[in-house]
Symmetry: C2
Subunit: 192 residues, 2 copies
Amino acid sequence: MQKLVAVDLAKSYRLLNHGPTVLVSSAHDGQQNVMAAAWAMPLDFAPPKVLVVVDKATHTRQLMEGSGEFVLNIPCRAQAEQVLRAGSCSGKEVDKFAACGLTALPGEAVNAPHVAGCIAYLECRIISEPHNQQQYDLFIGEVLAARADADVWHDGHWNFSGHDTKRSLHYIAGGSFYSIGEQFSVSASLQD
Amino acid sequence: MQKLVAVDLAKSYRLLNHGPTVLVSSAHDGQQNVMAAAWAMPLDFAPPKVLVVVDKATHTRQLMEGSGEFVLNIPCRAQAEQVLRAGSCSGKEVDKFAACGLTALPGEAVNAPHVAGCIAYLECRIISEPHNQQQYDLFIGEVLAARADADVWHDGHWNFSGHDTKRSLHYIAGGSFYSIGEQFSVSASLQD
C-alpha cells in the first residue's frame, strides 16, 4: 500500500524542479481524463504556482476549461508504458484511465482526480489568463495541495536511492524516456 | 576540443524536453551576464519557442529586457559547481563569468554569448509579452539557432552513454542536484 505524505506548499516547487514528465488529470460534468505532458514546471514559490502546456485539441483542455482545475501527477519508472499510452490516444474516444491501465483516485482540494501509483501530485486551480491559454496553450495553476510518496520524499527532498522503480520519468520523443539518475551535492564557494 | 553540431530547429525542443537546469546568458550595452535557472521548458514546436522565469531583481533581467535576447545553455555534470555559483551571486556586483569559472563565447544568431563547455545551447529572441514579464517574471523566446555537443547528441536525440560527465543537471535545492539517468524505450500498445 502506497503511503502519500502531505508536502509543505512552500516546498512543493521541488516536486517539479528537476523537470519530470507529468500526467495531467482533470474532471468536469461527469467526465474525467488523463494525459501525458512533458511541458510543465514551477512558476512561483509563494503562493506556489505551476505552468503546463495543454493543446486545444485535447479532451483534457475541455475539462480544464470547464472546471477551472487540474492535477499534475508525477509518474515513475514502473508506469512508463501507461504514461506513453496516455500520450498516444484521446479521451474523446475512449476512457483514458481504463485504456492506459491507470486508476483515478478522488481529489482533496479539487474535484479532479489524481492518478494511483504516481510518486506525487499537485492539485491546482487555474489562474485565468485567456491570452496565454488561447495564444500559447499555456495554463497557470495555483497549487492548493500536494502529496508525495513517503518512500522517495523525505524532509522536503526527493530521495530515490533504493527505489529505482519509483524514479521520475523524463520523456524525450518516440517512446524514449530517461529515468532520473543519481543525486549529488556541491558547495558554492566562489573562486579566488 | 568540444564539437558542437547544429540542431534542427524542429527538434530543438528535445534539448529541453527532459527538464534540465539551464544557464541563461545575456548581453546588452557592453555588459554580459550568466545565471542559473531551473524553470525553463519548451512552449511550442514550430516555430520553436521556450519559456524561462527570470526574477526582476536579477542583472540578467536588465540585459534581457535591454537587448530582447537570451541564450539557454544546458550545463553538464562536470560543471555543477560553476552552475551552483552562477545561482549564488549577482552580476550586478561581480563579473559572473569570471566569478563562476565560466567562459563566454560569441553568439551566432544573437549578440548574447553562450557558455563554453555546455552540452547544448538555444539562442532566442524575446517575444514581448509585457503582462507575463511583469506579473509572472515569465519570458517567451523564439529559438533562432541551436547547437549540441556531438558526443551526446546524435540524430536528433540525446545519448549520454559513455559520457557520464556530460549528463545534464537537474537541480532541486540547497546545492543538491540530480544527473539524468538511463535511457529506455517502451511501446504504446493499448491494453485489451
